[in-house]
Symmetry: C2
């Protein structure tokens, strides 16, 4: 079996796994990259879920200004210790998230930040539009779910495709850093000002 | 009559008046600095009021991050043209305002941005506190006004004393730049994030 350094490197980039962990998982799956990736992502997700309970009050306020002052973004991104907040990997994550917000203009951090009234109003609007098109009731439900997912993917930062690698969502991008740095990480809030907007 | 270059310089700093205007006003008042200052301020205010009607949609998004990422401020400050937005004087004003917000944590840009409910609740609270102390009704009103003014001076950016020169309010600081640059200038909005806050 031939496991290349490139495979291990790519696997680590996409999951945040350690070298030995990435190598062993590839070996155990006869070098099948996709299988190893799926397994390590699942493992990372479980670890991240365990960490999600931990209090994250350290971190960074990061800003990004574009176009000579025409557009600005400010975020608060939290981790557990100021040691991790000072690492390059955490700073890179903060920068990536600020860039993403500048480029894509999300309305919320995650679905949990949307007021129930707003979500209900969206669902109602999607259902009425589908019904107006004469779709049968059993199809309307599926259409609503599909449109709702598209709405969340557009309006929620964590659900968005990462602009620098659209194989990942922003949620995935954060998970990778959680796996690498071993701390809970949360995007707490953001503001985005566009001149005259 | 002896009018010094220092007097003219100081007068210009405090009012944004031109050299000739500052000199002439001093001459007309026999070198009385305080009289000239009061007159030029009033004149500047009238000019600024005229300009306040003009549409200000250009400007800058300015950010300021303090303490290595522990505290961040982002503001939108508007003027009328991108020519003025690119001047050092406008940039300095933007920076001064961002620093002010970082230092003093105002809640609103100006009194006009306070929701009437909040203002009413504050007044009620001040009146009840004064009444509870057994103050007579005719005094309560004066106490409420005094406490309200103190509240506005603390919570509204424009009413605050400028941290780098407490002889001016932030409103005054902006008026000086309006007088210098000849355009309407507005602090439109700001955000202030404190880590874990």
């Amino acid at each position: 079996m031939n496991i290349s350094a490139d495979q291990i490197k790519k696997l680590r980039e996409l999951t945040g796994a350690g070298i030995l962990d990435a190598k062993r998982t590839l070996e155990e799956h006869n070098g099948d990259f996709e299988q190893a990736l799926a397994l390590l992502k699942e493992k990372g997700l479980k670890n991240a879920e365990k960490k999600a309970e931990r209090i994250a009050k350290q971190g960074l306020i990061e800003t990004y200004v574009h176009g000579g002052g025409k557009l600005g973004v400010m975020i608060e991104i939290n981790c557990e210790t100021d040691f991790v907040a000072a690492t390059n990997e955490f700073k890179e994550l903060a920068h990536d998230v600020a860039l993403q917000i500048a480029a894509t203009n999300p309305q919320f951090v995650s679905e949990a930040n949307i007021a129930p009234e707003i979500l209900d109003a969206q669902k109602k609007q999607f259902a009425e539009a589908a019904a107006a098109e004469g779709k049968p009731a059993n199809i309307v439900e599926k259409i609503v779910q599909g449109k709702l997912n598209a709405y969340l993917k557009e309006s929620c930062l964590l659900n968005q495709s990462f602009i620098r690698d659209d194989s990942q969502t922003i949620h995935d991008r954060i998970q990778v850093t959680i796996a690498k740095l071993g701390e809970n990480i949360i995007v707490k809030r953001f503001a985005r000002f566009e001149l005259g907007g």
